[in-house]
Amino acid sequence: MDGIKILYTFELPYLGQVVITETVRNSFIVVLLILALCLILTHKMEKIPRKMTQKAAEKLVLMTEKFVVSNMGSRWRAFTPYIMALFGSSIFGSLISLTSLRSVTADINVTLTWGVVTFIMIHFFSIRQKGVLGDLKGLLEPIPVLLPMNIISELATPVSMGFRHFGNALAGTIISTLIYQALAGLTTLLFGIGIPFLQVGVPAVLSLYFDLFSGVMQAFIFCLLTMIYISNATAEE
């Protein structure tokens, strides 16, 4: 397995060395894809939709809104854009591996960043509702002796979210690399020719699980966990 390739490095004053890796490049491709999709879907919108693109856009927004409201309650309706952005970048970031680019989510920096954003949001909304003391008081529940345990479990939230997504995406990448190498070895072993024609078709079936299913599932789960953690932190007693 190859690591993440470093494409370009340069020095910036005060910031030090800036490294442009494959992940950064692929993330920008994902951003441009999503931007293009948004522009195409919302091009020339009308009050009564007649075009398929606008109908599709409305359907997507309504589905996400239903997903958010069913998990967090209707007072969190304004949360829909964030969940949709997270879902979109996660799904496109995983599915970009279908085009033989390295998937964005197979980099711990990306998924751990999303985990940290969720962690900050949990505490932002918790503090906004209960105040700083109210948020800190949650660490002393149910009994004050459990304080160290509660601190560890709070800090484990972003780590576990980041590692879960990263582990799944990376495992898919590694398994497809291994399968390609094994099939190349098998062709030389069985037929003694240098053209690995067994690589045609066979990996596609496995890619259906490891790239499509696992990518969609992890994006869904990441959004679900984000919503559940935030609505738990701000639950009204």
């Binding site: 397995m1 690591g3 576990s160 590692f163 879960r164 990263f166 582990g167 799944n168 990376l170 495992a171 590694i174 599932m217 789960i221 679900l224 966990l225 559940i228």
Partner: protein, 84 residues
């Protein structure tokens, strides 16, 4: 010196294999959750959607330890933290 690095590599590979024993736990846990979900669906087919989303949620939580083991194994195999 060559011997040392060979021993470190071999021990890392064995350690990676041992780490993946943790896969048993999530396997049992998720199988149990899926079995219970099948029971629940057969008892109340109209609640299928809710049951499936709850089951997926539980499976994901159960999977976390397995993913940790996987990350440890991957680190041992490909990152060589002990400097072989």
């Amino acid at each position: 010196m060559e011997m040392t690095s060979a021993i470190i590599k071999a021990a890392s590979a064995i350690g990676a294999g041992l780490a993946m024993i943790a896969g048993i736990g999530p396997g049992i846990g998720e199988g149990y959750a899926a079995g219970k979900a099948v029971e629940a669906v057969s008892r109340q087919p109209e609640a299928k959607g809710d049951i499936i989303s709850t089951m997926v949620m539980g499976c994901v939580i159960a999977e976390t330890t397995g993913i940790y083991a996987l990350v440890v194994a991957i680190l041992l195999m490909f990152v060589n933290p002990f400097g072989a």
